[in-house]
Symmetry: C2
Subunit: 206 residues, 2 copies
């Protein structure tokens, strides 16, 4: 058997990503992927023994790509507030450019093959931990006071998924700063005025 070359695998995955962007999992066939990648079907099956394996490899590659993208954005960001915005922007940009990843992740999740979602789970956990670290950094710097940050951080990251999946495709250019502003200070612009913010005690009184 001939050896596998990483560049070849990468080329196949790149082509498959483009194909899955316009076809659902059940529609895209291995022969289409082979043809688009300009390799024989035999070669394709040497790299990925079935469509599911290719799917999971695609997910691993995407998770790595997003983590790398976040690293790059964070390296350029200034201060905790800049880092939070960079995190939001990286996630929005990467998943806007690769919307098929939601389908891929959903399908992989339904496969129930043990460990099939390990890379996606790691991505989620890494993003949650990093965001919590930035929130803590901001607290230490006296920038904000976010008690029990787990819930707001999950709301933030889970909310991004919904905006990407179900929001209108024409997204405002300045979406990341808007989402950060809402996260820190709320969606209600009226509360910006002095003294308008209700005290916690008044919560839930209609």
């Amino acid at each position: 058997m001939r050896t596998k070359r990483p560049e070849q695998a990468d080329k196949i995955l790149c082509v498959a990503a483009r194909l899955f962007a316009t076809h659902r999992f059940h529609e895209a066939r291995m022969e289409d992927i082979a043809a688009a990648a300009e390799v024989g079907k035999g070669t394709l099956y040497r790299y990925f023994k079935d469509k599911e394996e290719l799917y999971l490899a695609l997910l691993d590659r995407a998770a790595e790509g997003l983590l790398r993208r976040i690293d790059e954005e964070l390296a350029d960001a200034d201060g905790p507030r800049g880092k939070l915005e960079a995190m939001i922007r990286a996630i929005l940009d990467f998943l806007s450019a690769n919307p098929y990843l939601f389908d891929v992740a959903t399908h992989a999740e339904a496969l129930a093959r043990p460990g099939s979602l390990a890379s996606w789970k790691k991505l989620r956990e890494t993003n949650t931990r990093r965001t919590l670290d930035i929130v803590e950094e901001g607290r230490q710097a006296g920038l904000w006071d976010i008690p029990d940050p787990e819930t707001p951080v999950l709301m933030l990251l889970g909310g991004l998924r919904a905006v990407l999946r179900f929001g209108s495709s024409t997204r405002p250019a300045e979406l990341a700063p808007r989402i950060l502003e809402d996260f820190l200070h709320g969606a209600d612009r009226k509360a910006a005025a002095c003294g308008k913010r209700p005290r916690a005690l008044e919560v839930g009184q209609g």
Copy 2:
């Protein structure tokens, strides 16, 4: 062929829901469901021709149940703020009590059978529209000013999913008012102090 009785179908779905709560889709077998519902396998297959059909029926039933629950909570709620909190509470309570629904929805999504997710999609769209209506009601009542509410509403509803799916299972009792407070006024409690909230212009400056 004997006629199908709605109570019988309901009993089977109720039993299946309990079974899927502790087993993944691939693990739960039709014979287990028949045995737990105390019906013969033949009877089960008269109601649901395969496990996928049963799954989709379960999803329809759950979507109806959640919509009904939201209706009830909204009927008891006072004013737009009370309604927003009721909406959040209904979603948190219903999905906390039926956590298997996420697996069911994920699997149904991956089935790619046309229309398979119609009831789930309707649920999401109804919840989004209702939340937007409440936000508008509050705006008209002068309670708040939430410009372009689509993004914050998607962030809110998508965030709830993440809190339910990935948050710690020991959730604070007063989670709904906390989430509402964060939604309206932000996670940063420091901003509550007069004059601390940065102006929109300062967003993104690190």
